[in-house]
């Protein structure tokens, strides 16, 4: 059984206090910029936690055996999903009600779809069937409830397996995961349109769902790997050997490239075609002084650090280097999350300040606290899984 060290507990409380201060100061000083900051931080941590569900489901449907010895870690990360989900729903509901100065979504403004109003926007009005506030809220609730339901069910099946053994739980897990895959394939895409892409309402990108998913994959794998290495350093998880770490490293390397591929495919086609309604999106990010540097900086670090430092086999078995690269790309993707939200909502007034970083740290503290608490609730070593023995003998 895992027990939280005093340092980790103090750190998480400290970070949460910073987060609360940032939240209060942010909303008191400038609610208009505090909401987007809350949104992108929620999006970031929601991505990590929903990816944990995807990770477990992926292992089930692929009948993969290598990851069984570390499956308690994604299971613990799932416990952050309801919290980040609720915060996301709060943001969505306040956005619809324009409560507390929440004007993240331009298409929710009054009269924008009304031909007689002076706010009327013909292009946005053309998207009325999909961008309808009631339908929008119903969709958001469906995503969150669905993900939480599947996450809890998969976690419960895994715990039942420990208690009772037998193949029944595994088979059920397989079927549940297959359904989750279908559900997640649709909802992850639509959720990214709803929460992120609809900020820049005039603009659209057909690969946006995959772009967001690839980002979730990178940060999800990074979190799983960092927690695994942390637990190993404390002396837990004896059956996790170098090969498991190597496999997670490969995933991080591969999905960093997928992310870059998606980013570049989206950027290059729009840059080349040069159609005004599409270029507007990159105009905000490339020509406004406050995002120009970040735009290239985050691509550079999210691509170059993994490809150069993690390319060789030995590098993926070198814990120090893995931790370094993981932390760098975690920051890089956090900046990317910022760039998804801020330019569309704040235009030339957005900047990374105490509100943004403080909220990020606060979320990080809450994440550590919740996930580590969940880790203490179940034994870290799994048993009775049909592939457990195979997983313990993994060598690549």
């Amino acid at each position: 059984m895992f027990t939280i060290t005093k340092n980790a507990r103090n750190l998480s409380f400290g970070l949460m206090i910073i987060g609360v201060i940032a939240l209060i100061l942010g909303f008191v000083n400038d609610a208009h910029s505090a909401w987007p900051s809350l949104l992108f931080n929620t999006y970031f941590f929601l991505g990590i936690s929903v990816f944990a569900v995807f990770f477990i489901a992926l292992q089930y449907v692929a009948e993969a055996s290598w990851s069984i010895v570390l499956k308690r870690i994604p299971e613990a990360i799932i416990s952050f999903l309801p919290i980040s989900g609720i915060i996301m729903l709060i943001i969505m509901i306040t956005a619809v009600m324009h409560f507390g100065g929440n004007h993240i979504y331009h298409w929710m403004e009054d009269g924008i779809m009304d031909p007689n109003s002076e706010n009327y926007d013909k292009i946005i009005a053309g998207k009325e069937a999909f961008l309808d506030t009631t339908f929008f809220l119903i969709r958001s609730v469906i995503y969150i409830l669905g993900w939480v339901y599947f996450g809890r069910k998969l976690k419960q099946l895994s715990l039942n397996e420990d208690k009772h053994g037998g193949l029944e739980n595994y088979n059920k897990g397989f079927r549940t995961s297959a359904w989750f895959m279908v559900f997640f394939a649709i909802t992850s895409s639509i959720a990214s349109w709803d929460w992120i892409m609809s900020i820049d309402t005039h603009w659209f990108s057909t690969l946006f769902g995959w772009y967001v998913f690839s980002e979730w994959a990178v940060i999800g794998f990074v979190s799983i790997l960092l927690i695994t290495l942390y637990l190993k350093r404390l002396g837990y998880l004896e059956s996790v050997n170098e090969s498991h770490i190597h496999d997670l490293g490969k995933y991080i390397f591969a999905f960093s490239l997928v992310w870059t591929y998606m980013w570049f495919s989206q950027f290059m086609l729009i840059w080349y075609a040069n159609i005004p309604e599409e270029v507007a999106y990159f105009y905000d990010r490339l020509e406004l002084e406050n995002y120009k540097f970040l735009f290239w900086f985050r691509v550079a670090i999210n691509f170059l650090f993994p490809i150069i430092l993690l390319m060789s086999r030995d590098a993926k078995r070198n814990n120090t280097r893995l931790i370094f690269v993981c932390i760098v790309i975690l920051i890089g993707h956090w900046l990317n999350a910022y760039l998804l939200v801020a330019p569309g909502t704040l235009k030339e007034y957005g900047h990374i300040g105490f509100t943004e970083i403080g909220m990020g740290l606060g979320f990080f503290g809450l994440f550590i606290y919740v996930v580590f608490n969940a880790l203490t609730k179940a034994p870290l070593e799994t048993k009775n899984h049909p592939f457990l023995d195979e997983s313990k003998h993994l060598h690549t």
Partner: protein, 171 residues
């Protein structure tokens, strides 16, 4: 003294792996092992040097990206600048996003093809090369350890039968 060749044939890869470890711990040289599929951990048990194929692949990839860069620079900037959709066409630097797909594909092409060719050359697989396989059953379901010994072969044979060889042949 004459050289003798001994073949130990196995039915199962785990048995083979244990046998190889046992033989290695007795300081007997194994000439070659033939298996129908790659056996995990066999390279370590045999004490083979780590492959340098990865380094070769990296070099080939670098070669590919350099070649593609120079090629497209020559074609699209120096030789005949083309105006495509009003994109900048007099500087490489400004037009580089549209060249990335070409450079990416050439990297993959060079790495993949040159690696295959390197592999074939290293294995001596030229067109018309003869098979060196001592027993055709190793391409189906048998595993074979080959020894080249001087003097008595008894010790090796005993070891082989002790570690579970299904068949032992001598030539």
């Amino acid at each position: 003294m004459s050289r003798k060749t001994v073949y130990g044939i196995f039915d199962d890869e785990e048995v083979l792996l244990n046998s190889v470890k046992e033989i290695k711990s007795n300081n007997i040289d194994i000439k070659e092992v033939y298996t129908p599929f790659p056996v995990h951990g066999l390279d370590k048990a045999l004490g083979l040097k780590e492959t340098r194929m990865a380094i070769a692949a990296f070099v080939y990839g670098c070669l590919g990206i350099t070649f593609a860069g120079l090629m497209i620079y020559n074609i699209m900037i120096i030789d005949w600048p083309m105006n495509i959709g009003g994109k900048p066409n007099f500087t490489f630097y400004h037009n580089v996003p549209s060249f990335v797909p070409v450079m990416f594909e050439c990297t993959v092409l060079f790495a993949a093809h040159l690696m295959s060719i390197t592999y074939l050359i290293k294995c001596g697989l030229f067109p018309g090369a003869k098979s060196e396989n001592p027993d055709p059953r190793t391409t189906d379901d048998k595993f074979l350890i080959e020894f080249e010994l001087e003097g008595s072969t008894k010790k090796v044979k005993d070891l082989l039968s002790k570690t579970g060889a299904s068949e032992i042949n001598e030539k």
